[in-house]
Amino acid sequence: MKRIFYLDGQPVPFTSGQNVLEAAIAAGMARQIPYFCYHPALGSLGACRQCAVKIYPHDDKHPPRVTMACLLPASDHLQLATVDQEVHTEHRKIIELLMLNHPLDCPVCDEGGQCHLQDMTVQTGHAVRRYSGPKRTYRDQDLGPLVHQEMNRCITCYRCVRFYQDTAQGDDFGVFGSRDRVYFGRLEDGPLESPFSGNLVEVCPTGVFTDKVFRHDYARVWDLQQGPSVCPHCAVGCNTLPGARLGTLRRVRARHHPEINPHFLCDRGRYGFRYVTAAERPVRARLHGVHSRQDAVLRQVATRLQEGRSGFLGSPREDVQSNLALFALADCLHAPFAALSSPWMEALAQQCMALPQAPTLNDVEMADHLIVLGDLGGVAPMAELAARQALRHGARLTVLASRPTALAEAGDYRPTRPSALPDLVTGLAEDACLQGSRRPVILAAAETLGPAGVHALRKTLARLPANARAGVFQNSPNLFGAAYFAADGHTVRLQHALRQREIDHLLCLAADPLGSDWGAGIWRSLAPGLQGVTVLDMVDTDTVRAAETVLPMAAFPERDGLFINYEGRIQAFAPVYRREAQVPSWQENTRGFPAAAGGQMHPLGPPTPQYWLGRLAELLDIVKPWQERLTFYQRFLCPIAPRPDHPGILLDDALRARFEIAAAPAAAPVGTEDWELDLFRWHGGEALADAAAELQSLAPSRGLRLNADVDASFATLSGPCGRLRLPVLPIVGMVAGVAALDQEGFAQLGLHPGEAVQIQWETVS
C-alpha cells in the first residue's frame, strides 16, 4: 500500500524511516519548506530551526503546534501545513536571524547563483535587514590549494563538520568556540588532509567553502555548459557533472548515482580534471617533435602502417569504443594487438573479469563485516569512503596490508606481506573473523593482490555464503572494456614480434609503454628495435615526448564514450563542451581557414580517437571492413549501450564467465629473508590526475617507504630492467622486509608488487 501524508492538503508519498522534510524534497515539494542543516547524506540535526511546519494532531486533546519537519518522522495521514501565519513568521524570522551577520557580498561571491542561502532567503521573502549593529567577523584560514574559506559568510549549519568528521572521518578540521562566535576550520593554516575535502564546497549551503581551483578561472554557474559524465580517474566510475565555458573546462562536481556516488566525490575526481587545461597537454599533431599539419602527420602514420610492420597497444585508461576501434584496425591489418602493456596486468585483468558478485558502493555501506586487502584509499578513495560509512553503521573491519593505512587505523590491522596475500585469502573462508557475519564484503587493491591473489579470492568467494561480495579496484577507468578482446597472451605476442624484428612501429592509444605503464622496463629494453612510435594521447607522457608522430585526442568531457567499471557496469558519458584550440598566433592558424571563404576562425580542439583511426582506415582504404568489425565487437560486448544519464547496464555474466580459468596464475616465490615490494599510491595519483597542478602540489614526496627500524638514508633497488636510487622514508608500523614503491618505480625496475628485490643501502650522516 502506498503510504502518504498531507502537506497543505496535498498528498505526499513516503517510505518508512523517512522524515517529513526528506519525503517532501523527494516529492518535489521542497519549495514549501525552507531548510539548511538537513542534508540527505548527513541526516537531520534540527540546528537551524528553518524547516518549520504546523502539525495538526488527530486527537482533540492537543492543539496544533509548530515543529521541525526534518525531525518529524513521516507517518500515515499526518496533516501538516506551511500556509499558516505562525509557520510563515517562523520561516521569516529565522532567516532574518541567520542573515544577521551574513555579508552582502553576493555579487562577488563564488557561490552566487548556486547558493542555498540565497535561494532560501528569496523563497521566504526576507529582503530588508533591520539589524544595523556591527557584524561578527573572522580571520580566514588558508586551507590549501583546493578549498577557499570565507568564514564571515557562515550561518553555523554544521554541515561541513558533520561531513568532514562524521562521514569522511577526517581529524584535521573541526568547530571551535561557542555561542555566536563559532569557527569552522583547522588548528592552524594548512592544506586539508582528507581525500574528500572538496566536498566541503558542495555541502556548504553558502559561500564559506568555495572551489579554489574553479576560482582561478571562474564563471557564473548559469553560464556553464554542463552535461552527464563519468569520472576517468579510477575503476569506481563515479558520475560527474563537468562544467565548461567558452571552450574550456572549469570545474567538476558530483552527479547523483543511487548506487555508486549519491552525493560525494573524492578530490582526485573533483580536481584531477585539470589535465584537460594543463599547458603540457598535446593539442596539436606533431611529427618528429614539431607541430605539423594533421594531414602530414596522418600520411606519415599511414605510410608506417602500410609497411605492414606495425603493432598496436590499447589502454585501460581509454574508453570502450576507442579500444575497439584500435582493435578493429589491427584486425583489418592482421597486426598484433595488445590492450595492456604487461603480461602481468593482462593476467590480473583476466582474473578481475572472472571475479563474480562485485558489490556496489551501496552494498559496501550496508556490509556488516569488511575485509580490506591493501591500500584501498590510495587506489579508489570513494570505495574507502563507502567502507567508512559501513564502519559508522557498526560494521567490523579487518585490514590486511603491509602498512597502517588510514583505514587500518579505524579497524583491526593485520600486518601482511603482499606475497603472503594469496595464501591468506585462501584461508579467509575458514577464518574466525568472518564467522557470524551476514553481509561480508571483501575489498582489495587489485595490483597489491596480484593475479594469484584475485584468483584465490574467487575460489574463496565460492566457499563463502551466497550473500558475500568481493570487489577489486585499480585506478584506470576501463580495465574490462579494454581487455575484453585482448586478454589472452596478446602482450607477450606483441613483445615477441618486436623482439623478433617482425614489427618496427608501435601505435599506442593512451598508453605509456616507454614511461610509467606496467612493464615499461621491458618496452624500454625493446625500444631500440622501434623505427617509430605513434601515440594518441591527451596528456604529456614519456612516450609522447619520444614518439615520431603524436596525434592529440579530445579529453573525456569533450567527447562521448563508454567505460566499464569494477562491477562490470557499462556507463556512458556525453560530450559536455567543444574545446576550442588555444590559438597562439591568429595569423598562423587562420591562414589555412580564411573566414571569408567559410572556414573556421578558430580551429576546433583535438578530435576523438575514433576520428583519427577512421582517417587512418580511409588512407589505408579499409574503412568498410574496419567499421563492420567495430560495430560487431561493440554489439557483442554491449548490445544495448546505455544513455549518458542512465545508471548503467551490467556486463553479461556469460561474457565474464569466459575468463574463469581454473589454474592459479604462477607467483614468483619470495623467501622470508628477502625484501619484497608493495605498491604505494596516494589518493590524488593517477596517469591523468598527475597532470593536475593544484592537486599534485599536495603529493607526498617520492621515496622508498619502509619500516622505521631501517637505518639508511638512500636505497638503490635492482630489478631485471634497471636500477633506481631513492631516498628512504620511514613508516611507523610497516611490516619489516617490505618496501613500498610507486608505479613509476615498478615500471623502471620491471617488477611487480609481491616480488623480491635486491636493495643496497646507503647512509649519509
Binding site: 584535521d172 573541526g174 568556540g177
Partner: protein, 170 residues
C-alpha cells in the same frame, strides 16, 4: 593529524607521570581529557600549544578535538592569564542584576582589554557563561571560588588588594 610536538616537550617528568596516571584510571583514554587539561592548566598557567598536543597524544584524541573542547569551555584558558583570574558571569540572571557594570569596572581597573593580563601580571578579567549561581546574582568566580552577590564596593576591595599585592617586593 600528526603533530611535531611530543609529550616529552612538557619537560616535567612528575607532571607527565601524573597525567599518565589520570589516563590510566579512566575507562577510556579520551574520557580523561578534562582532568588532563585542568592538571596541565594548574601546572603551566594556561593551555599552550605544547600542552594541547601533549593532551591530545595522552588521550588519543586529535589536536583539533582538544582545541574544540578548549575553545568551547571557558574554564580552559588558551592564553596566558594573570595570577588572579576574575570570571564575571554575564548570562541572563547576572546580566539583569548588573554584571555589565561589574565587568566594565573590573576591566577599567585592570587597564587592559578583557582576557588580557593587567595590573603588572596580577589580574585577568574574563566574562563567563552561567555558573549556576542565579540566586546570588551578580555572581563571579575569584580564582575558581564562587562569590555572590557582588557589588561595586566588594569588587573594588578585591581589586585594590590585588593591586597592593602586585606592588609588594617579592
Amino acid at each position: 593529524m600528526s603533530s611535531p610536538i611530543s609529550i616529552a616537550d612538557l619537560q616535567d617528568t612528575a607532571l607527565i607521570a601524573r597525567l599518565q596516571a589520570l589516563v590510566a584510571e579512566s575507562p577510556v583514554p579520551a574520557a580523561a581529557i578534562s582532568a588532563v587539561l585542568y592538571t596541565l592548566q594548574d601546572a603551566r598557567g594556561y593551555i599552550d600549544d605544547v600542552a594541547l598536543h601533549a593532551a591530545a597524544q595522552l588521550t588519543g584524541l586529535s589536536p583539533v578535538r582538544v582545541e574544540e573542547l578548549c575553545t568551547f569551555y571557558s574554564l580552559v584558558l588558551r592564553a596566558p592569564a594573570g595570577r588572579h583570574v576574575l570570571r564575571i558571569c554575564d548570562s541572563i540572571a547576572c546580566h539583569l542584576a548588573g554584571a555589565q557594570d561589574l565587568l566594565a569596572q573590573a576591566q577599567a581597573y585592570s587597564g587592559v582589554a578583557l582576557g588580557e593580563v593587567g595590573l603588572r601580571g596580577a589580574l585577568t578579567v574574563v566574562p563567563h557563561v552561567c555558573i549556576g549561581l542565579c540566586d546570588r546574582a551578580p555572581a563571579l568566580l575569584v580564582d575558581g571560588e564562587a562569590a555572590g552577590p557582588v557589588d561595586a564596593t566588594s569588587l573594588a576591595q578585591w581589586l585594590e588588594q590585588w593591586e597592593a599585592d602586585a606592588w609588594k617586593p617579592s
